[in-house]
Amino acid sequence: MAEARPQTRRFRDLLEDRRFLAPALITPAALFIVLLVGAPLVLAVYLSMTDATAGQLTGKFIWFHNFTEAWHNDNFRRALRNTIVFTLASQAIVLVGAGILAHALVRPFRGRWFLRLLILLPWAAPVAVSTIGFLWIFDSQFSVVNWTLVHDLMPGGGHFYLYRPVNWVLGGIDHLPWVHVGKIDRLNPPQWLGQPTLAMLAIIFVQAWRILPFATVIFIAGLSSIPTEVHDAAKVDGATGLRKFWHVTLPLQLPIATVALLFGIVFTATDMTVVYILTSGGPFNSTHMLTTWAYQTGVVSSNLGEGAAISLYLLPVLLVVSVLMLLFARRVEVS
């Protein structure tokens, strides 16, 4: 016992030493990440340069053949374009929606608890099963949206059809090159998941619907972190309404908005659940994203190497976006 004591003393000193303690505390987490993200990532990069097919994780080394092969596929080009449109459009909706909602929800009012509960529902629901709810809402025959569009909504047969004003709006935008949805009539309600443009719109809507609650929560966090002195100072300077929003609230909100946007972009670009369940890339491969196209190529068509290569196209883009946004968030904070 007497001999053991200096040793425990030395161990204790070691625990007080930053040079030892700092790495010691990080190592478990870092090791976990290296083993479960780093190593598989390296293996995936290796796979992307081989002609591996289903069942085996090795193959002939073919350098960047898979990358060029993927690039020259029309479906890949379209998936790339879709991913960009999908991510930007859904996040634009989320950013605007969450900004407005957070401002209205940050102050307490009667009934806020209940309204907040309703707003949180899409975040709480497991996304795979809530998207099945949308499969039912957008069903080709029994869609409730279509029922509402093509049935007489005026009680007692007063003849009010919602599709008429919708058609009027559509008439105004139908000449745009990417619309092509055609007019709605009572016998041809829109096929939300069966027509390329509508299917993209549906996917974007569901993704925005799903991310919006969480973004709102982050925005509320950002708003409530603005010290009350700032509001008082703004009041003293006579800044109200839009002026105050533009010169006081918005700049203070920017870092947090950037972080919310960053999360949204990563969630949207890397997760295939919504697309996979709503359309699985259809109709006619028109709504594939990079993630679902990679899954289709790598798993369904069992072309592992090319599937990995397709997924890898996503990584550098996300990397650049994230680094820029993190730098921006810090820059704004410092100034």
Binding site: A29, L41, P126, V129, G133, T270
Partner: protein, 300 residues
């Protein structure tokens, strides 16, 4: 007086429409869950109310004598809801989801709290870079990782077992948790710790006795966020596990309630609605503390 009334009115006007759009799918699930097949698949019926129909096999009209019910609810059935409890492993999936979520949260905290603390306090400039580096691993898409990972899982003999998910899920919760806690620990004044150190505490003791209690909001944020990520996860849940008893909600509901081309719509809706409402209630009651955790953390 008038100004507060007006303010409240504005709040309702803004929040109301959002709440309607965001919650409509759940209202629709509720309406659908109680429908009989004959009512559901009759295009002549108004879909918002219940109508008499030829009862299908196994459908019991539970409310048929209650004519005072609105929306024709006497024509509704609970058979499709009880179906998920009697004829599928639904309760098992709920339990599995809770177990996986709980274990992953524990693992995440055990690894991320020390790492976040170390990055915030002990390491100098390089801590910042390591922190960003850990966060960036979050960017790697699961579609890229799940093939190599499924190989690892089968090497370890974990395929078709919940442990595979417990092992893999922390790979996406730890990066976020570490990053958030790092920010949170930075906001705690160093003097608090120094005082404890001067009083003769060791660093680890100071971490446990002084820092940890103040950090509860940040830790709660991590708990809720990690748990919600686990509940939402779909790709790994469906590829690593094929036995129905070991599924989580996200994997079990689509595989067992969609059989070929046949969608058990009412049961699917009920199976979605139940966990969604429970989790929303849970998140809502912790929301203010969740927000406090975020403001203290990620943005400093």
């Amino acid at each position: 007086m008038w100004s507060t009334l007006r303010e409240r009115g504005v709040s309702y006007l803004i929040v109301g429409p959002f709440a309607i759009v965001l919650a409509f799918p759940f209202y629709w699930m509720l309406v659908t869950a109680f429908k009989t097949n004959g009512d559901l698949y009759n295009l002549d019926n108004v879909p918002f109310t219940y109508h008499p129909s030829q009862a299908a096999v196994g459908e019991k009209l539970s409310f048929q004598h209650d004519h005072w019910l609105p929306f024709g609810f006497e024509n509704a059935t609970t058979s499709h809801i009880t179906f998920i409890f009697s004829d599928t492993n639904y309760l098992r999936w709920v339990e599995n989801t809770a177990v996986v979520g709980g274990l992953v949260v524990v693992i995440t905290l055990l690894l991320a709290v020390p790492a976040g603390y170390s990055l915030a306090r002990l390491s100098g400039r390089w801590g910042q870079s390591v922190g960003v580096g850990i966060f960036l691993t979050y960017l790697v898409p699961p579609t890229l990782l799940f093939l190599p990972l499924s190989r690892v899982i089968s090497k370890l003999g974990l395929q078709d077992r919940l442990w595979s998910l417990v092992l893999v899920y922390p790979s996406f919760t730890i990066p976020f948790a570490t990053w958030l806690l790092m920010g949170f620990f930075r906001t705690i004044p160093a003097e608090l710790e120094d005082a404890a150190l001067i009083d003769g505490c060791s660093r680890l003791k100071a971490l446990a006795r002084v820092i940890f209690p103040i950090s509860i909001p940040g830790i709660l944020t991590v708990v809720i966020f990690s748990f919600s990520l686990c509940v939402n996860e779909f790709v790994y849940a469906i590829t690593f596990i094929s036995g129905t008893k070991q599924h989580t909600i996200s994997a079990g509901v689509p595989t067992d309630l969609i059989r070929g081309d046949v969608y058990f719509w009412q049961s699917l809706m009920a199976a979605t609605l139940i966990p969604s409402i429970l989790l929303a209630l849970l998140y809502n009651s912790f929301l203010d503390r969740f927000i406090a955790g975020f403001t203290g953390g990620a943005f400093r």
